[in-house]
Symmetry: C2
Subunit: 163 residues, 2 copies
């Protein structure tokens, strides 16, 4: 049974649900690529929202990337996010947000990015997420492997299931 | 359909599956507490294992803690782990391990612990995990909120479902 939403999560309501769509990525050190993506934002009745994401290669459906994280609201304009990635990367973020009924925008800038000793170095990550009319779009920029901070990923997803 | 295990994950085979059990925690700044726990280690055919954990209060089944992470093997004696927690904490770990068929032991020490601005400060975390005869036990020690590094959690879980 789904517990009632914690009131601290009210600004996060536009995120909740299952999202599916597609995106593409580019970076100076790799070939450009396309992916299909599934994102789930969910809650358990506590003052945070869970974030689960996975992407697949368009051509054969093989899993590409995945990441897991949590979001929580600090006040009426600021939220925080933490993320872990299987490539040995973790991120802490602070984001400025506007949440107004069904439309939502948050601009997360990494406070810290930590990597395990065998991981590729990542210095900075920004994640801009917009929701409007059951469509979620995001842009991810990063400074990694010695390259300057720049755009890396963009994607567009549709809400296929409410929370 | 479950893809075949990536061969890099072979040392992680003893972890795979669904585990249920209980534990208890203590720290100078809080009352001691007991919890029931569920842990899932799983894979998607890529060279990492996913870690999902949640605990509930024994008295009424209310959710207490949860965390998400990933493990990957570096060589025959070293693995790495990353973890995100909803309380605004992320951890990167390096662990020395011995994996021998069904028995397994790994001693993770945090390389970095990062916290969001509104989170309680955590400086250091160690996670010792042992598996023997389908029983998983762990001890977690940490230095947090200004206290010295010390034991915080211990738990014992049984494997209730293989991978």
């Amino acid at each position: 049974m789904q517990p009632p939403l914690h009131q601290a999560c009210l600004p996060l309501v536009p995120l909740l649900g299952l999202w599916r769509g597609s995106g593409n990525g580019h970076y100076p050190t790799i070939d450009s690529f396309e992916y299909s993506e599934e994102i789930v934002f969910a809650h358990v009745g506590k003052p945070f929202v869970t974030y689960t994401q996975k992407t697949k290669r368009v051509s054969d459906g093989q899993p590409l990337h995945s990441e897991q994280g949590f979001l929580r609201v600090v006040d009426s304009t600021v939220m925080e996010m933490v993320i872990a990635q299987p490539t040995g990367i973790v991120e802490t973020h602070v984001g400025s947000f506007v949440s107004n009924g069904e439309s939502f925008i948050v601009n997360f800038d990494s406070v810290e990015v930590a990597t395990t000793p065998s991981a590729k170095p990542v210095e900075q990550v920004s994640r801009l997420v917009r929701i409007e009319n059951d469509e979620l779009t995001y842009d991810l920029s990063m400074a990694a492997v010695g390259e300057k901070f720049q755009h890396h990923l963009e994607a567009k997803l549709q809400r296929v299931q409410p929370d």
